[in-house]
């Protein structure tokens, strides 16, 4: 019989805003927003006014004029997150850490933690003692149940869904709680009278597949509480993306091109760090006063080399940015990710590619040690006069800290 899994989901409460409130005690108890252009994180005091991550700052100011708005300190948040994840790694044999949350699999540590809730309390106490941050912990037999449990216990709480209680726990929950149900899907479900996870189950897998395609099958499985995804420190992400917004609409083609190359280099370094190569490159732009334009291109051979990916991205930018209109936002994404391996040999047959791969590997080692900002690529030199830089690279208006 398969051993029952015990998964903990640790989620740092209002992460960026909580760090700012730690750094400056005058902010405690006040509505605090971290973000530029849009809210990246806001304190629970701000959430009482209906503020949420992703909301525009103009809307946030309208709803809560006395909120303190800070641009944020991405480098500081990284340091705090790393300390939280250190605690997680002390407690569990397998940890999968993201930006402000982590999954812990206690398999193999049952003798250390006969009581999962005890492990959860220990985690919360250690994180608070070492960082001052509050962490909410959810415990369940799968990643999804643990995540939903932590969501239900927020803020600064702990909730456990004991084995066998998953069904009762899931049934009455709103559909928007289910991973994979975004605002559009939630709207669609609402329009056909589906409100709870139990409602979705009753519809059946076949009807959901007809409605949504393959994602319908996955949603039905999740609605039934089936989630066997392992907690592994390195899983292959579906995509790696980087994007930034601009204070004023960007119009200089040279600077836009430099930013595109910079974002792409950040994404490709992340891919190389995970031992991955990408087959598909995507670019999206938000023109001032216009609708988002995006395009993607799939290459015959996967790659993680900057020159290959930047060349593909430049071609895509030419397709999506056809008029001389300033850009409000620019982003890139790598997808079709796979482990670097045999396929890499195909394009490494050329001596030039091999030399570039060696050079890239050397540059990555320098950056791993001294930070991405220690070196600036020639394609991005123009940004030196325009953006502030720290050891992590250029300080972007909306930095992306995601995996």
């Amino acid at each position: 019989m398969a051993r029952r899994r015990i998964i903990l989901h640790a989620d740092i409460d209002a992460f960026f805003a909580a760090v700012e409130q730690l750094r400056d005690p005058r902010l405690r108890g006040r509505p605090v927003i971290v973000g530029s252009g849009v809210i990246a994180s806001c304190s629970y005091e701000a959430r009482r006014y209906g503020l949420r991550a992703g909301m525009s700052l103009a809307e946030a100011r309208r709803r809560c004029p006395r909120a303190v708005i800070l641009a944020g300190h991405a480098a500081t948040y990284r340091c705090f997150a790393e300390r939280v994840f250190e605690v997680c790694r002390e407690l569990a044999p397998a940890v999968d850490a993201y930006l402000d949350d982590a999954y812990l699999d206690l398999a193999g540590a049952e003798r250390l933690y006969p009581d999962a809730a005890g492990a959860g309390h220990l985690l919360r106490e250690r994180v608070r003692a070492r960082t001052g941050l509050a962490v909410t912990v959810g415990i369940g037999t799968s990643r999804m149940i643990a995540r939903l449990a932590s969501r239900a216990a927020k803020p600064d709480g702990l909730a456990e869904v004991p084995p066998g209680a998953e069904d009762a726990f899931l049934r009455g929950r709103p559909l928007s709680d289910l991973p994979g149900v975004g605002p559009r899907t939630a709207e669609l479900f609402e329009s056909i009278g589906l409100e709870t996870i139990a409602d979705l189950r009753a519809v059946g897998a076949r009807a959901l597949i007809r409605l949504l395609g393959e994602p319908g099958r996955i949603l039905h499985q999740r609605a039934c509480g089936r989630d066997s995804r392992p907690v592994a420190p390195r899983e292959i992400p579906r995509s790696i993306s980087r994007e930034t917004s601009f204070d004023a609409a960007a119009t200089d083609p040279g600077a836009i091109d430099a930013m595109l190359a910079y974002l792409l280099e950040r994404a490709s370094r992340t891919a190389r760090g995970l031992g991955l190569v990408a087959r598909t490159v995507s670019v999206h732009v938000d023109p001032a006063g216009g609708r988002r334009q995006e395009a993607s291109s799939t290459m015959p051979l996967p790659s993680a080399l900057d020159s290959v990916l930047v060349a593909a991205a430049r071609e895509l930018l030419r397709r999506v940015h056809t008029r001389r209109i300033g850009l409000r936002r620019l982003g890139v994404a790598l997808s079709g990710l796979g482990l670097a391996g045999g396929e890499q040999l195909d394009f490494l047959t050329s001596a030039g590619r091999e030399r570039e791969a060696r050079l890239t590997s050397g540059l990555d080692r320098v950056r791993d040690r001294f930070g991405h900002g220690a070196l600036v690529g020639g394609r991005s030199l123009i940004l030196l006069d325009r953006l502030r830089r720290d050891r992590y690279g250029f300080v972007l208006r909306t930095p992306s800290l995601t995996k």
């Binding site: 760090v19 750094r23 400056d24 927003i33 800070l70 990284r78 204070d247 004023a248 960007a250």
Partner: protein
């Protein structure tokens, strides 16, 4: 293209952050494997640390950098930085209530 963050002040209307990045002289307690800044001199003014709000660390190559957010008697909040490699202290920024 995005404008660089102004070197002086940015932030919310009610909070002003001034970037400093200045070397400072610091008296600190290094007992018990921890570092606790007690007072620091910035220019002619000596600031007494009345509260250590938060501390965290980062790494630059093989050396550690320690960061401290401290409240001083005047009411402002400073971010101090200690480079373990060359044993130098810096004042990164000061956050003032507008």
């Amino acid at each position: 293209m995005a404008e660089p963050v102004p070197p002086g002040l940015h932030g919310a209307p009610s909070m002003l952050v001034e970037q400093l990045d200045e070397p400072v002289k610091v008296r600190a307690d290094f007992q018990g494997g921890t570092i606790r800044p007690l007072l620091f001199r910035r220019g002619p003014i000596c600031h007494r640390v009345v509260q250590l709000n938060a501390c965290w660390e980062d790494r630059e190559g093989q050396h550690k950098i320690y960061f401290f957010s401290v409240s001083v008697a005047a009411g402002d909040v400073y971010q101090l930085r200690f480079h373990a490699g060359d044993l130098l202290w810096y004042a990164d920024s000061v956050m003032m209530e507008a």
